[in-house]
Symmetry: C2
Subunit: 183 residues, 2 copies
């Protein structure tokens, strides 16, 4: 009888990931509940998006924890991170574009934390001589987001296989497109 708010959020995320302009009615249908009930749990579209943002932040942090960014080489950590974030990639893409609208409003500080943890990973790789130093950690972080969004889009549109997601992103992000002799 009782609606599971988490299930509703996941359904909303799945729908809004594909169609970011879906109405509350469509979200409710996607979650298998009525619009009235949806509105009882989330006071409005803003509240829903904020809840999705919190969910996205939580999943990112869980992925960051699971990836153990301080263990092993930075490259291995990046690979683990991409793999751990794959399930949340679609949601991340939605929030990534959606947050550009919140111009005036303050950005959720959770993102800053996440940015800093990922930037720290790239910085660790640079200090350890593993990563090149002419690309800033901030850019590498942003590029990781962009590549994950592109990867999620490719998988979602059927242009790429889900099993290639991690490989595509990590290989391009770390190795680049150029063919190397040594490898």
């Amino acid at each position: 009888m009782a609606v599971d708010p988490d299930h509703v959020l996941r359904a909303a995320a799945a729908l809004l990931t594909r169609k970011s302009t879906a109405t509350m009615d469509e979200v409710a249908k996607a979650a298998g509940i009525s619009r009235a009930t949806l509105h009882r749990h989330f006071a409005g579209r803003d509240a829903l998006v904020r809840a999705l943002e919190s969910l996205g932040i939580a999943e990112c942090e869980a992925a960051l924890d699971a990836a153990r960014l301080d263990d092993g080489t930075a490259s291995e950590a990046v690979r683990r991170l991409v793999g751990a974030m794959e399930p949340a990639a679609g949601l991340l893409g939605f929030l990534y574009t959606e947050n550009q609208l919140f111009e005036g409003e303050a950005q959720n500080p959770g993102w800053t934390l996440i940015d800093e943890r990922i930037s720290a990973l790239f910085r660790r790789g640079q200090l350890g001589g593993e990563f090149r130093i002419d690309l800033t950690p901030a850019w590498l972080t942003e590029a990781l987001y962009g590549l994950m969004a592109s990867g999620a889009w490719m998988v979602q549109s059927g242009k790429g296989a889900p099993r290639d997601f991690q490989h595509m992103i990590v290989e391009l992000l770390l190795g680049g497109a150029l063919r190397r002799e040594e490898s």
Copy 2:
């Protein structure tokens, strides 16, 4: 007296790039004309977006032509392409996200042409032994879009300098984050 439709389009592109949900009223104000006049030139929001899409396609094709993708090494061609597309990167980012809404409707065939030209460039690099072959041209193309969108976002939000745009994208796309002995 006569309104320059191209000027209106550029103003609309500049605004919608920053705020993709801007109303027709805001677009009109940004272009310095009244909403009535805006509506006289573009029969509605759909028509406006379609016109922007045509503009984006035209600018992309112009950039592709200017970059002379068949000349020199593929790497050099990629570098020229990114530089040539930089002015249109913001508009591209807008259309890239906006077009995800056109689910049912057919995608403008112009994009397919552009995709194919860029894919062909990456394929040329692979056949010439310049690019690695474990990353598909389709993925490299998509990644290029994603990185350009991220780069445009960084520049636009003030987190990155415009003069670094081309370098950031090309170096990451081609060389990757890993430090190389040979270079």
